[in-house]
Symmetry: C2
Subunit: 150 residues, 2 copies
DNA sequence: GTAAATGCAAACCGTTTGCTGTACA
DNA sequence: TGTACAGCAAACGGTTTGCATTTAC
């Protein structure tokens, strides 16, 4: 059973259908190492399916997130970016305010923190968002210090 | 010198003016233990100044943030909440997806993590956003487990 | 065949902006 | 009295939605 059939079966089990558009958008996310926003996905998708609409892109991104195949990040302040959720470990992002460069990093401490909130306060954590912003190596002033400067 | 005069002087030093509206909105933030969004601040402000406009609220909240007297949080996905920035220690938020309850917590680890990113990767971190979402003690199903469940 | 999904365009909603009038210092 | 700021209403931009049509299965 190929990956397409497997995906189709997974969706079908939950009452969904595998459409050309869903396949396409998932592929776009999986083939990109960047963190694409909806407009970027739309532009890319149009190259292969000129009739696709932006509403489908938004609906599909939300759908892929819902079934766990995509992750949504708010790298900037004002809109979302997406990536395929096929990586094993959770990771977080630093975004450069000047050049937009994204640096990913892992931090097991974050999930540990979530667990301790559950133990101590009885909070069931289902969503985690951690992001740093600032200036990357190339964009920071030469005399910049570490840590939060505001 | 009273707090009002002190504030006025602080602003004046930087070329700004202390207006009735800025005083009012700062007071609203300082007198509330909740995390108010722009609409809530607007509603509260209207009680004391029926002529105030929503644009002034947004401009003032951005202004207070800029000069370090207010902090902006994205507790939900879609809009900002604000709180007075008079607390000594940085803190983070958990938001209940069902009842909206906010639980604040500290975590020195987060700033430590930011510092280590600076040391290892040369990233100058100027903004930190960490938030958890999920279900609070009252709203979680009885059999819910800890940690990320998606 | 029929329910689910798409495409289009219009609506939405939090937020920002241009412009004119007001008030702080 | 001059300049920073407020108020109003219109614009903005990312995202969502209603509805007729298409498509997966």
């Amino acid at each position: 059973m190929g990956p397409k059939q497997k995906l189709s079966a997974t969706l079908h089990n939950r009452g969904y259908r595998l459409t050309r558009q869903r396949q396409l958008i998932l592929e776009i996310l999986q083939n990109s190492r960047d963190h694409l926003d909806a407009e970027m996905v739309y532009a890319e998708a149009k190259k292969r399916d000129s009739r696709i609409g932006i509403a489908t892109v938004y609906r599909t991104l939300a759908f892929l997130k819902k079934i766990g195949l995509a992750e949504e990040n708010r790298l900037g302040e004002d809109h979302s970016h997406y990536e395929a959720a096929d990586r094993a470990k959770p990771h977080y992002h630093f975004a450069c305010l000047k050049c937009g460069r994204i640096v990913e990093f892992e931090s097991p401490q974050v999930m540990r923190l979530a667990r301790s909130l559950c133990d101590k306060e009885g909070l069931q954590v289902t969503e985690v968002s951690l992001g740093f912003r600032g200036y990357c190596k190339k964009c920071r002033p030469a005399d910049a210090e570490c840590g939060k400067t505001t």
